[in-house]
């Protein structure tokens, strides 16, 4: 909402400067976004004393100019209208010329000194006229500041009015709030009731509850000419164009008093009735904004017997609009259901000053005072005769008084305000107060439709006193050491990020969105949005891997081909909240290391991703020894080089090489890429009852021995089976079993591989004898052979 200082002062009797007003406006909840002064500073009214032809140029004149003091100033001027005796606008050297953007300098034009400039309207930024310099009336006072004389030195204040403060969508409303805040007195609004001299030939009919009430006045023999200068200036000062007197009056009433109006050219109305009704399918309206709108039954229109003339509360129609020829007009002053206006406007995607106010709520009493004020303005500016006012519907009754406890400013607002002050402040805001002992009754004024409860009244008082006055109180702590604030899953998500970063992966945060085409690599029907912001972001991601692959591709395009990224975040498998999962996801692409002088660089592989997964699981004390690791993975992984990690029935995650098809689609081509996904919500939770105490450490004091065994076994046989069989050979004595070599190559029979195991034997109660060691070794070999068909290599 833009207002000017001088306009505000038409309603507010105050000596406060614009700066003081602006600060106070922000303090009472009318946030000032900017305060700007008209840009014409330093331009003075000058008289051209003489204008002689330039000795060296036919089209130039050498003028002697008086600015009311000092000796006359010589100015070389090219304007054809420059003549002795005229009044114009002078700019001195050093000044900025707003219309051209140049800094004026003293000059010498073809041998004649020029110590300033006489300005055209365009040079002053006041219009398009550049045919000559400003030709001011003869009575313009020489030496006066031009901007002040023309009323252009006003201060423009731009206010961000929150949606609840419909009452402040007018200059008067803002003045009223400032007066309540103690910054001056609200001047009374001069309203003289008008008696119509004839019955209106048109009447109102309400057939839709989208219109609550409507008043109408018929004017005959009006002249819809240009508006007077004051009205043009007022509108121009807030950036509005003058159109014609009648249109300007409706716009002025909207801005000045927050009362949108509409005027119809009465001669273009068919029949004798204007009806507020729902539009019908197939109807349309050529509106004043130049567009034609197709209407539907949810929209509220004002119609005559021929069809819709206007969109009630939003915009008038072009055919029934007023023009220079208009002689007879019908004024509409209506009250609408805000929700209905909002819905119609939204359906048509049509914004207007009227809609903006009606959908936020217009003072119901403005049906009375708005009509009176509009009649006065129209008669004043356009002449003619006004009819008796016709009315349909009823002004809604004032809502019941609100029970209010004055103690609430302190118990809710944290600020003690004595009851007398409270009563004074509320009265200034227009409330009617019935005081009681501790319980009052407060009736808000008609223009404050936003006040409905005690909390609203507390806010009114706090904002007028200023939120600064509320003393700060730190929140008292319930316990001196607060309880832990994270759930186990939150804690693990936080730790997972820190752990993965220490493992060398960079944390990414990518959108929850994804392109549908990408998402379908992960889920046949991903969750689609009804109104995506773009086709690249039209579904919710079913896996984070797609976004990480895209990120790796972008980084590769910038020259970073080896990436290691992770993200811990949500994926969405269906719209149900049960299908949103928190997934720790990682992606490694390219080489494990950059080339370095020690060597050691190699392409990333399955075991990097598996190590990431196991590191996370072990960090969270998941019993990884019990994991079932199987080559059963979703289709976006390499079917032979990826694994699912299962614990009992629950799949905790997947890891492995990305499917080459997906890599190709991601623009990563032949690069090696491995990833993992760990479902943090599915990890087993610690048993709360078990507490934090550990089982006692059982460490044998007796010597441990390590024995190596190399087995020749079918390639398809999994190493896990060998280890399991070996461990099972003696559960008491075997304390560790590890793979320390794997060989698959030409030196072995076809289809075979060599697996070397290092097995640690240790007893808790004695040192093992050679005989025991030999016997256990034999049992190990036998068990592995039995379970896997392996043979011991010798």
């Amino acid at each position: 909402m833009k207002i000017t200082y001088s306009w505000l002062k038409e309603h507010l009797d105050s000596t406060a400067t614009p700066a003081v007003l602006a600060e106070r406006l922000t303090a009472i909840g009318l946030e000032v976004e900017s305060v700007t002064r008209g840009g014409l500073e330093g331009f003075v009214i000058a008289e051209v004393l003489s204008a002689e032809r330039h000795p060296n140029a036919d089209k130039l004149r050498v003028c002697q100019v008086s600015i009311g003091k000092g000796t006359p100033i010589q100015v070389v001027c090219g304007a054809p209208n420059a003549r002795a005796g005229m009044k114009s606008v002078f700019a001195a050297p050093g000044m900025h010329i707003p219309g051209t953007g140049i800094q004026l300098a003293e000059g010498n034009i073809r041998g004649q000194a020029s110590r300033g400039m006489l300005c055209s309207a365009r040079e002053l930024g006041l219009g398009e006229d550049h045919d000559g310099i400003m030709d001011l009336p003869a009575d313009a006072p020489v030496g006066e500041d031009f901007a002040r004389w023309r009323g252009l030195d006003d201060v423009l204040i731009d206010i961000n009015v929150t949606p609840n403060r419909a009452d402040c969508l007018s200059v008067r409303g803002i003045a009223r709030d400032l007066a309540a805040a103690g910054l001056g007195a609200l001047k009374p609004l001069a309203l003289s009731p008008h008696r119509g001299t004839f019955p209106s030939p048109l009447r109102w009919e309400i057939k839709d509850d989208g219109c609550v009430a409507v008043a109408g006045v018929y004017f005959r023999n009006v002249t819809n000419g240009e508006s007077p200068q004051w009205l043009k200036d007022r509108l121009a000062s807030v950036g509005q164009r003058s159109i014609s007197a009648l249109v300007d009056i409706t716009n002025y009433m909207t801005l000045d008093l927050g009362r949108p109006l509409h005027v119809f050219d009465a001669d273009k109305i068919s029949g004798d009735t204007l009806t507020m009704r729902a539009a019908r399918d197939g109807e349309n309206l050529a509106a004043l904004d130049g567009n034609t709108y197709d209407l539907g039954p949810d929209m509220l229109v004002i119609a005559d017997k021929a069809g819709p003339l206007a969109l009630g509360g939003i915009m008038g129609g072009a055919p029934s609009g007023v023009s220079v020829e208009t002689r007879n007009v019908f004024l509409e002053v209506a009250l609408f259901d805000p929700r209905r206006i909002a819905r119609t406007g939204r359906m048509l995607n049509l914004q207007s000053d009227a809609r903006y106010r009606f959908e936020r709520g217009v003072d119901p009493q403005s049906l009375v005072w708005g009509t009176a004020r509009a009649i006065a303005l129209i008669m004043d500016l356009c002449g003619g005769e006004a009819s008796v006012t016709v009315l349909a519907g009823e002004i809604p009754a004032q809502p019941a008084a609100i029970p209010y406890r004055p103690s609430r400013t302190e118990t809710l607002g944290g600020l003690k305000i004595d009851p007398a002050s409270q009563e004074m402040l509320l009265t200034r805001l227009g409330f009617a107060i019935e005081r009681g002992e501790s319980q009052w009754r407060a009736s808000p004024p008609s223009w404050r439709g936003d006040i409905s409860g005690e909390a609203d009244i507390v806010e009114e008082l706090l904002r007028l006193e200023g939120y600064d006055a509320i003393p700060m109180r730190s929140l008292p702590l319930e316990e001196s050491v607060p309880e832990p604030v994270l759930t186990i899953v939150q804690r693990r998500a936080q730790a997972a990020k820190r752990l993965l970063a220490t493992r060398g992966l960079m944390e990414a945060v990518t959108f929850s969105f994804m392109a549908g085409a990408t998402a379908r690599h992960f889920l046949p029907s991903p969750v689609a949005l009804a109104n995506p912001i773009s086709v690249d972001l039209d579904v919710l991601r079913p896996s984070i891997l797609g976004n990480l692959l895209a990120a790796a591709q972008r980084n590769a395009a910038r020259g970073e081909k080896d990436t290691a990224l992770f993200e811990v975040g949500p994926v969405y498998l269906s719209p149900s909240e049960r299908d949103q999962f928190l997934v720790a996801t990682g992606l490694r692409v390219g080489l494990s290391h950059p080339r370095q002088w020690q060597g050691g660089a190699r392409p990333v592989d399955f075991f990097d991703a598996k190590a990431d997964c196991l590191a996370l699981l072990e960090e969270f004390s998941v019993p990884t020894a019990n994991l079932q690791i199987e080559r059963a993975v979703p289709a976006y992984y390499h079917p032979g080089r990826a694994a699912s990690l299962r614990l009992g029935p629950a799949i905790l995650g997947y890891c492995g090489e990305m499917h080459p098809g997906l890599l190709g689609a991601s623009g990563l081509g032949e690069a090696m890429a491995v990833g993992f996904e760990l479902f943090l919500d599915r990890l087993p939770q610690p048993r709360v009852k078990a507490g934090q105490a550990r089982a006692p450490l059982v460490a044998s004091p007796y010597q441990a021995v390590e024995r190596d065994f190399a087995f020749l076994v079918d390639r398809g046989q999994s190493v896990a089976n060998l280890l399991k069989a070996a461990r099972g050979a003696d559960k008491l004595l075997i304390t560790a079993a590890r793979v320390f070599d794997l060989y698959e190559g030409e030196k072995l029979p076809a289809g075979k591989k060599s697996v070397a195991l290092a097995i640690t034997l240790q007893a808790s109660d004695r040192t093992l004898t050679d005989k025991e060691i030999e016997e256990t070794s034999a049992r190990i070999v036998a068990a592995v052979t039995r379970a896997t068909g392996a043979e011991l290599r010798t």
């Binding site: 922000t26 929150t162 805000p338 909002a342 944290g414 609203d456 939120y467 939150q490 929850s512 949103q580």
Partner: protein, 362 residues
């Protein structure tokens, strides 16, 4: 010492000065064998002791043993010197170029959003706020209606909402436009007193220089029987001072409007814009940082909480925004790019875990 007796046993005087000049460990060993070995001269002399008379034997024995100790000590001293010299030579030969780079190790970084969320949790955690979370796909009721934003309310135009297609019952789910639905869930499932913060992803159908369709918010909620607006001011001042690490940071509260709070406020922090850049803390200017207010009684009632008995406050702020302000990150859109250069530059060391007790790591 009767040197006569000793001399009787040794063929010649022993010249121990050779020990001090020998230059290799090998030569030193030769000397040791020659003098102290089983057939060495001193050993041989000791063997001859038995031939002496008891009186003489005692004196000569003592003298010989003293000589043996003296020689032995000398040899060991020399050995020590020679060994040290040998070690020095070896170490010198083993010298490497220490300016060669260390073995490469990947360095991961924590994203500023995670870091900022952890900081927020640490500070509000110290004030007794628990972390609550909820799904990103929400019902229209929890995102709007329960928060006193009925259909057709102009406030719904303040937020451009992502919708899912209507389900079988005609209900249209939304991507939550704020984390307030988590507050609604908390109030509907728990009894006061409540103190929670709700960090998380939020969505608005908006994309330009300063907006991304997804961003993060943290909201907070306190519900009990006595918390009032003074506590709201104090709690949030405590937060911003701790977060920005400025114990004298100025704050200002202005009246504002949100459908879900009454009274409502916006909070500004002191800043300076005069030097072309924004500096938090100094100067006379103000910067809006968050919205807050006392929870609207209708919201309490919508969530099944008796508004005649309970009250409290709520607040919400943008996580990227406060991260940008604290860490001088200029562009919101870069947060979601996963550009490695950006992550290395603006990211955080993994062990830089925010902690109000320990303080920052760098």
């Amino acid at each position: 010492m009767p040197s006569a007796s000793r001399d009787l046993l040794l063929e010649d005087e022993i010249d121990t000065s050779r020990i001090d000049t020998v230059s290799s460990l090998q030569d030193l060993d030769h000397i040791k064998v020659e003098l102290l070995g089983k057939k060495g001269r001193i050993s041989e002399a000791l063997k001859r002791l038995g031939a002496l008379a008891p009186e003489e034997r005692r004196a000569a024995g003592a003298a010989l043993n003293a000589l043996k100790d003296q020689v032995s000590e000398k040899i060991e001293a020399r050995r020590h010197i020679l060994e040290k010299a040998a070690l020095d030579r070896r170490l010198q030969a083993e010298e490497i170029d220490v300016t060669l780079p260390a073995r490469w190790e990947a360095r991961g970084r924590i994203h500023p959003i995670s870091q900022t969320i952890d900081e927020i949790i640490a500070i509000f955690g110290a004030m007794g706020f628990r972390v609550a979370e909820g799904p990103d796909i929400e019902s229209d009721f929890r995102n709007f209606t329960a928060l006193n934003i009925p259909p057709d309310h102009p406030a719904r135009q303040m937020q451009d909402t992502f919708y899912l297609p209507p389900d079988a019952t005609g209900e249209r789910a939304v991507l939550r436009t704020h984390t307030s639905p988590v507050q609604v869930r908390t109030m509907m499932s728990e009894k006061p007193p409540i103190r929670v913060i709700c960090p998380g992803r939020t969505y608005r159908c908006d994309s330009d220089m300063t907006h991304t369709p997804m961003f993060h918010q943290v909201e907070g909620l306190v519900i009990d029987e006595q918390t009032h607006m003074g506590h709201l001011k104090g709690c949030l001042q405590d937060f911003v001072r701790a977060y920005f690490g400025m114990s004298d940071l100025r704050v200002r509260f202005r009246p504002s409007y949100f459908p879900f709070t009454e009274p409502s406020a916006e909070m500004d922090i002191g800043c300076d814009r005069t030097k072309g850049t924004l500096k938090i803390g100094a100067g006379a200017d103000w910067l809006e940082i968050l919205g807050c207010g006392m929870v609207h009684p209708k919201v309490l009632e919508n969530c099944g909480i008796d508004s005649t008995r309970y009250q409290g406050f709520a607040f919400g702020m943008g996580i990227e925004r406060i991260a940008m302000l604290k860490y001088g990150i200029p562009d919101l859109r870069t947060f979601f790019d996963a550009d490695l250069r950006w992550l290395r530059h603006y990211g955080f060391a993994p062990l830089d875990i925010p902690n109000t007790v320990a303080g920052p790591l760098r």
